[in-house]
């Protein structure tokens, strides 16, 4: 599945770091630079594998490290209810 950020969140990015305002959840979140980079690619069209590949390239980390970190981050986003409902794409 290709994760997508919740469209109702209010997002502001400053100095490469995102601030997420979740009105319905009553929370405000701050993402560090790496998490903000991942967040910006969760468009519902990009797979976690492709996001990890971009992380590996930009942050100069090993691909296996990048996919592990991206998956851990996606788990956190899901736990915090920051992602839109994920619908399996055809063939997934």
């Amino acid at each position: 599945m290709h994760p997508r950020v919740r469209p109702d969140l209010m997002v502001r990015t400053v100095d490469g770091e995102a601030v997420l305002l979740d009105r319905s959840g009553g929370r405000v979140h701050q993402l560090n630079g790496t998490a903000s980079f991942v967040w910006s690619r969760l468009d519902g069209r990009t797979s976690p594998h492709d996001v990890a590949a971009a992380v590996a390239e930009v942050f100069d980390v090993a691909p296996e490290t990048a996919i592990r970190d991206v998956n851990a981050l996606l788990d956190q986003f899901r736990t915090l209810n920051l992602l839109a409902l994920e619908v399996p794409r055809r063939g997934e």
Partner: protein, 274 residues
Amino acid sequence: VPLLRFLLFGQHVTVACETGDSAAVLGTLYGAFVSPEEQAPIQPPLAYTVGRGPTGEFLIRRGAEGLPPADSTGMLLFHFEQDLVVELQKRRSDLYFLHSAVLEREGHALLLVAESGGGKSTTTWGLLHHGFRYASDELAPIDLTTGLVHAFPHALCLKADPPAPYPLPAGVLRTSRSWHVPVGLLPSALAPNPLPLDAIVFLRYRPDIDRPGIRRMGAAESTARLYTQALNPLAHPADGIDAALQIVRGVRCYGLETADLDATCGLVVRTLFS
């Protein structure tokens, strides 16, 4: 009936006290806001009365609306100020109200932001012995157009006696809930009002650590932490998140883990003014 007249953020407030003890207590707490009679409008926008009920409880009314009865002086102050601050937010919704202490040094404001019990008032009391002047220990309304911080110099409110070497003076008002230091008993003068903002320090009380620590914070983290202490964010566009971002931009922001009060004060002064 003693009539107290206050002026807060351009809003006139009157309190008709049907008993002398409530007048004395409220006069002590809000002495810095006293407004000369000739400046008061004929019909003030906020009119309170404070009386006593049949069992001796304090009865507070704003206009015709009753507030919860208060069975002690401490509860009287609690209910009165809680209502007053909410009403002021309604009437000055253009201001961005923060739950924050405000201190002044060299003509600029320092905000001490923390959750309740996070050490704002105790740290404020300590810093008043280190060249800072008092503007507020609880409320920081910010004018988003000018960037100026308004003062709310009610009596400094502590929940316990501060540690040495910062003892409280004689004359402090002690209630069942808290201690109140009238502005006339503070170790420094009141700050000018309003003030341009220079720095924000986010406090976290850490009784488990031996020495305080301070670190520079980025704009995103500062925005998120400031937003959690905004009292009326929804009164502003984009639910107030842009206002929080606007406030932290262009000022220095720090995260401070407080420990020993004397060491904490020294660290703040060295960090901000060295």
